[in-house]
Symmetry: C2
Subunit: 610 residues, 2 copies
């Protein structure tokens, strides 16, 4: 389907917004009136800019408080409307959004409202314009899509149809299943917006906290499926009021938005049977099976010796250096880590390679989701791993059977690697992401790898709340946590400081592993005694166990599913390693313990600076 | 009354928080358990630190999910509680907060709950401890203070009392007027928290958006008055969960918190008759009449020539240079502006001088609100204006009759100044404030000058939403608007850029003034044509008027109270001047027009950079 986005979603001037939308690949935009009003460009100039950028001007919006008013006020409103039609003529547009009246409605009479809508449509007809009438969730008299549709039916004019906005429907808990009963030709426009559960009134929720489809908690795919069943064939537009988007580089936001429209269409395709002709309206993405295995992780580091020592202490074997580059391969059990030395910039996860059935399909899918391709030079007889940049700059590589021999470039014996009896596994990755890129990175990762999002959490740190979003693959093979970095992560000079990410390794014998690793030189993050005093009181643990854990720096949690033991290494310039042991069917990450860790890291960092 | 604050209000480590509380002047603190758990300091070390800082450890909190449970679980809970009493012994504390059960309550039976509370109190008695039981607004069975008090009465134990938290009472819309019916000796503790109206569920509202008393929309003074009538004599504590506080320098937050406790006590004193003995419990502040007149405004500038030219174009007369310093006095009508040249740093309002009956009283009040004194050297025969630093660094000076001769130091003839027939007046000041200082600056200004807060507003700018908070003096003599600067106010190198503040001058003949000023060289901020097209459609204005306004750069608003015309000068390194004309009894600031202005300024700035 054609894609569109309201200019109010984006930061910047109208001209900057249009540039960003075109660059992201949108087919069209909605002109948000306030953006036009403050623009120095004339309507003719905006029209010309849109033509040059090959952007359709799909919808002029909003025209407020038209209907359900006294005759005297309605006549004034028609004058207002006529002025907008004249403006739209200059813009070369033909559709205007009329949301249901919230400001001036005094006549609660469907006959009057439908009559006024019809008269507005007659005026539209004279100008060759179309009116898309939309029920706001907080409309005074009209606040459901069905009521809106009934009024449009009653008004019965070929220049009047409905606009369906997922936020206004789903935020009220309204049932979208009757959408297919509306004739496709009367659905003039569709606006898609998701939102996280926030326990807020609809109005402030809508004004500040909408997000792109897939980034919130509404069932957007189901909504899209109903639209498709209704026969709606576009444009599919985004109208997101979001305080963070208003402060974010519009090129990031626009790319994120287009990605969400690709994702939602693909999702709806999955809900429709393949012989349903409506399905063809939906833009397809290259389909892959959900990704379940991380092939290897690349750590870029300006401290390769320390990093190698850390891995060594944890039981990783150094396999070898790349035959041509300075990269080093470390392996423990099923976990492969490639260390790439650099001169400066700290230590961080720079790429993640994923096992896929067909790397070309995976690459094509990632590209369809707006990811730029990574080009890493290889020589003729080296394996070329196709890859892309994620929104936050991390690289994703795709490894299929044909590329499985890449470790031989590090001198590895593939058979011996496969025979590794070390029972260490990758438990999860934890990746920090700046506020600007957080939502985009989560949606990109989720959509590219076909993961599922768990509910988000806030973790208290001495520098502010850290928002944490865990993704999991359907069969649990990959767990991937994103942390939104607080703006306070700066050093004393106010320069940004690398908020640490981490790699969590799962073992079956944490206490023994920890003891051995400490003997081998592992520096464990010191956990305060007060934590163990509290732990003992909370869980009624025996003294000996708690003392043993304390000596090893092990943290603990227990719930109905099982138990969780884990410890953290000291941070190495932006990265640390976590060792975890899951007992029973414990699925969490030790809630509460992350706050202890963040405080201990802060304390440790402060002492280091002294 | 003694003052206290929960450590959860503040950013940093427990030790940093304690330092900040002591420095701000709090008498005591509440130890938030999670802060202790993550601290490397032992309980004995925390106790010693508190002693050295002369901080009382008033309350250990929270002990969750104690009561309303099965006997089996309750016995486990008693064990948990006993461990906390042992910990509190090490801390040298004797009071613990028990909020009503929200996690594990299954027994909805007041007899059982009261019995369990009594048994907990008996345990407390054995340790010399006291339990303050508090109804959480979202408590499973116990969620009103009255129910909480009934249970404490039924439990009937000398080691059990209630904790009253204003948030939990007022957020539910509960009536606090029965507080005086609770015997003072059974009110063990009081937590004060305010909150802005956000239309949210109580739980997320409480966890993220509490603010200090006076910074939200609850009637905190009335609440404080009931507490005083109940005979409660302290401590008076703050428990604020706030995402911004968690990221703010704790010394700013602590000073802001103590200020709010001074403010609320003074407010409650005003509500109690002077012969009410309870009134003496409340810490008094030096009292002054509400301030209604700004004596003069000081503008510090690295572009004094341009600044002087701007003032001159607007009809200001240059009176003279200070006899000893480089400062220059400009006067128009009742408005005095002192220009203080500096080498660099842009142009901004650096101080505001206020007319008061007694400058010593005003200074004492400001100091009681935690403001450091400004010391500006003067020679023996010069007027010394007492003054303080506001939280954001702006200076406040107080001018009484004895100091009214200060303009003579600029060579002014006081009689001629008084005779000035120019009908220009100060309409309002608009002062930008960083996110960290915003709440503190608003509360300080409001409390020091005895102003009232209007509802806050969000204004869309190309760089994000700007939150705007207007204060007005009771008789309307002073209007003072604070703008919270978006974090995006940086230049291309990421360095902070001065978000412009402004001085708004009121005139009765805006069109003539504007024309004259433009003739005299005033550079008016260009307002886009699209604005005027929209304006005409919105208000049905005639062509000639709109064309005239457009030529002069005049913006317009109209409401039931009257009309508003205004224009903006171009920005001069962080400051611009607004000219306004209020017609009828128009009280607003032209809502919507601020967004036009912000966009026009951004556009103008971008062109300037090209």
């Amino acid at each position: 389907m054609k894609t569109s986005i309201a200019t109010v979603c984006l930061s910047g001037t109208l001209e900057e917004k249009m540039q960003a939308c075109a660059a992201a690949g949108f087919d069209g935009i909605e002109i948000f009136e306030a953006d036009l009003v403050v623009s120095p460009s004339s309507p003719a100039e905006i029209r010309a800019l849109a033509q040059r950028l090959e952007l359709r001007l799909d919808l002029y919006q909003p025209f407020r408080d038209l209907e359900g008013v006294t005759e005297e006020l309605f006549e004034k409103n028609l004058h207002r409307l006529e002025a907008k039609f004249q403006l739209m003529q200059q813009l070369g547009m033909n559709m205007i959004l009329v949301p249901s009246n919230v400001g001036t409605a005094t006549v609660e009479d469907d006959t009057v409202i439908a009559g006024q809508l019809r008269r507005a449509a007659e005026l539209a007809h004279r100008y060759g314009m179309y009116i898309a009438y939309e029920a706001l969730a907080w409309g005074t008299y009209v606040n459901t899509y069905w009521h809106c549709w009934q009024l449009v039916q009653a008004a019965d004019h070929p220049n009047l149809g409905v606009c369906l906005d997922s936020f206004h429907i789903l935020s009220r808990g309204d049932d979208p299943s009757r959408i297919p009963e509306i004739p496709a030709e009367k659905i003039y426009f569709v606006q898609l917006a998701d939102a996280p559960e926030l326990g807020m009134d609809v109005l402030p929720w809508s004004r500040h906290h909408r997000v792109f489809p897939g980034e919130g908690s509404f069932d957007m795919v189901e909504f899209m499926t109903y639209l498709t069943q209704a026969g709606y064939s576009g444009p599919l537009s985004l109208e997101i009021f979001n305080d963070v988007f208003r402060e974010t580089d519009p090129s990031i936001t626009a790319a994120d938005g287009l990605r969400s429209l690709r994702w939602i269409q693909q999702g709806a395709r999955g809900h429709l049977s393949t012989d349903n002709p409506a399905r063809d309206q939906l833009t397809a993405m290259p389909k892959i099976d959900p990704v379940e295995v991380i092939d290897h992780v690349e750590v870029t580091t300006d401290a390769p010796d320390e990093c190698g020592a850390l891995l060594g202490a944890l039981g990783f074997a150094f396999i070898g250096q790349h035959r041509r580059k300075t990269a080093q391969l470390f392996v423990a059990g099923g976990v492969k880590v490639v260390l790439t030395p650099v001169h400066q910039g700290g230590t961080y996860i720079s790429s993640v390679a994923l096992q896929v059935a067909n790397s070309n399909d995976a690459l094509a899918r990632a590209r369809a989701l707006g990811a730029p391709v990574v080009s890493r030079p290889v020589t003729a007889d080296e394996v070329r791993l196709p890859g892309v940049f994620g929104p936050g700059g991390m690289q994703f590589f795709f490894v299929d059977d044909t590329a499985a021999s890449w470790p031989t470039e590090f001198g590895a014996d593939l058979d011996r690697l496969a025979d590794n009896t070390n029972t260490i596994r990758l438990d999860h990755l934890n990746v920090p992401e700046a506020r600007d890129h957080f939502g985009a990175s989560v949606l990109f990762t989720l959509a590219t790898l076909r993961m599922n999002a768990l509910p988000g959490q806030d973790v208290a740190s001495p520098r502010g709340l850290v928002h944490s979003q865990a993704l999991e693959s359907p069969r649990g093979g990959i767990r991937w946590v994103f942390n939104r970095v607080p703006r306070t992560y700066t050093n004393r000079a106010g320069e940004p400081v690398r908020y640490p990410g981490h790699i969590a390794l799962a073992v079956d014998d944490l206490e023994q592993r920890a003891a051995a690793a400490i003997d081998a030189g592992l520096a464990v993050l010191p956990i305060p005694t007060n934590y163990y005093v509290d732990l003992q009181a909370r869980f009624g643990l025996d003294d000996a166990t708690v003392r043993r854990w304390q000596r090893l720096g092990i943290l603990y949690d227990r719930n109905a599913d099982g138990e969780f033991l884990h410890l953290y290494s000291e941070t190495l310039g932006g990265l640390f390693i976590e060792l975890v042991q899951r007992i029973g069917s414990y699925q969490g990450y030790g809630p509460g313990n992350a706050a202890v860790r963040l405080a201990a890291q802060e304390q440790h960092e402060q002492q280091r600076r002294l």
